[in-house]
C-alpha cells in the first residue's frame, strides 16, 4: 500500500506550489497516472483523503487522468496496446518494444482560490 506515500508526495507538491503563488485553499489537484505504473487509482483516491488532512489541500478534489499504455517497435514502427497481456516483443519482427506512454505519475496543475493579495 504505497499509495499513501504517493498521496503524501502529491499533497507536498501541491502545497509547495500553492505557497509559492501565495494562494490558500487548494480546490483541485490534477494528476496524470499511467496504466503501466504500480499505482491503483481507487487506492490513491482513498489515500489522498487521508494525506490532505490539515494541509492547504484539506478540501481539494483529486482529479486523476488515466494515461493508456502504448508501446512501439523501434525497428518497424508498429504501435500496439499491450495492456491485456503485457508482451513487449514486437509481433511483426520479434524485437523488444519500447514503452512510449503509460509510465506517467505527474502533478499537472492545481486550482485554488486566490486570497492573499498582500505580498
Amino acid at each position: 500500500m504505497h499509495e499513501l506515500s504517493i498521496a503524501q508526495s502529491i499533497v507536498e507538491i501541491a502545497e509547495a506550489n500553492a505557497r509559492e503563488r501565495k494562494v490558500q485553499c487548494i480546490q483541485t489537484v490534477k494528476i496524470r497516472l499511467g496504466e503501466f505504473t504500480t499505482v491503483v487509482p481507487e487506492a490513491l483516491d482513498f489515500a489522498f483523503e487521508i494525506a490532505r488532512r490539515g494541509t492547504l489541500a484539506e478540501n481539494a478534489r483529486l482529479e486523476i487522468e488515466s494515461v493508456p499504455m502504448v508501446v512501439h517497435c523501434v525497428a518497424c514502427g508498429t504501435v500496439t496496446d499491450p495492456v491485456r497481456d503485457v508482451c513487449l516483443i514486437c509481433p511483426q519482427c520479434g524485437l523488444p518494444l519500447e514503452v512510449i506512454s503509460g509510465e506517467e505519475l505527474q502533478v499537472e496543475y492545481i486550482e485554488a482560490e486566490s486570497v492573499a493579495r498582500s505580498v
Partner: protein, 225 residues
C-alpha cells in the same frame, strides 16, 4: 479560481535523493544492487550464496530492508560480512531517502559491491529508484509461472531475473520454460539465470556474471579519474 501549472513528477523528491546516492556510489566506483522479490523467494539465501562466492576477492556489504526484525542482517553478519538493517515499520518499500540516512551511519567507502535487499514485495519497490546501478529480481518457480505477467512493472524495470528454487519445479508442477518465456515477454532485455540456492545449481553462472559486472564498474570508475 486560479489554475497553477505544476508539471512535476510525483516521485521527484525520491529521484533527487536517488541521484545523490548514485553520485556517491559512482564516485566510490562500487556496484550497487537493488535486490527485489516477493517475500520468501530467496533474497537472503541468494545473498548468502553470493557472499560465499565473492568474499575472498571483493569488499562487500549489505543493507537490509524489512518491516520488522533484524534477522536478515544477522544472517549476513554470521558470514562475516558487514550489514545494516533498515526497519521500515509499515512502509512496504525502501526509498532513496532511507538509503541516504542509512549511508550516514553505515560507511560504504572502499566497497566493491553493496547489495540493498529491498522489502519483500513485487509491487511498490518497483517505483522507487534507490540510486542503484543494477536491479535484480528473484522469482521462485514455486510462485507459479504467471508472476511476471501479474507484476509486469517490477519485471520490466529490472536488469537481471533469477529464477530460484528450480529444484522445486517438478514438485510444484511448474514448467520452467513457461516461466522464462513470461519473463522474456515482459522484459526481452533481461539477463535470466535459473538457479537453486539450496542445491547450488546455476549459481556459478550468476556469480561469474556478477564478477564481470563488478569489474566493468571498477574499470569505468578508473577511467573517470
Amino acid at each position: 479560481m486560479d489554475r497553477i501549472a505544476v508539471q512535476t513528477n510525483v516521485l521527484k523528491a525520491n529521484q533527487e535523493a536517488a541521484t545523490e546516492n548514485r553520485r556517491l556510489f559512482e564516485r566510490e566506483g562500487m556496484l550497487v544492487i537493488n535486490l527485489m522479490s516477493a517475500p520468501g523467494a530467496g533474497k537472503t539465501s541468494l545473498l548468502e550464496a553470493t557472499i560465499r562466492g565473492l568474499r575472498d576477492r571483493y569488499r562487500l556489504a549489505v543493507i537490509e530492508g524489512d518491516l520488522q526484525t533484524d534477522l536478515d542482517a544477522q544472517r549476513i553478519r554470521a558470514l562475516g560480512t558487514r550489514s545494516h538493517q533498515i526497519t521500515t515499520g509499515t512502509v512496504c518499500h525502501l526509498d532513496a531517502r532511507m538509503i541516504a540516512r542509512a549511508l550516514a551511519e553505515f560507511p560504504v567507502q572502499g566497497l566493491d559491491l553493496l547489495v540493498i535487499e529491498n522489502v519483500g514485495n513485487l509491487i511498490c519497490p518497483a517505483s522507487y529508484d534507490l540510486g542503484e546501478g543494477l536491479r535484480v529480481v528473484i522469482c521462485s518457480v514455486a510462485e507459479g509461472p504467471e508472476k511476471p505477467k501479474k507484476y509486469p512493472v517490477m519485471f520490466h524495470k529490472t536488469d537481471v531475473v533469477l529464477l530460484n528454487k528450480t529444484d522445486l519445479a517438478a514438485a510444484s508442477g511448474v514448467d520452467l520454460r513457461e516461466l522464462e518465456t513470461n519473463v522474456r515477454e515482459v522484459n526481452p532485455m533481461a539477463t535470466v539465470f535459473p538457479v537453486s540456492c539450496r542445491t547450488g545449481t546455476g549459481l556459478e553462472a550468476w556469480i561469474t556474471w556478477l564478477q564481470d559486472a563488478i569489474a566493468s564498474r571498477t574499470i569505468a570508475a578508473a577511467a573517470r579519474t
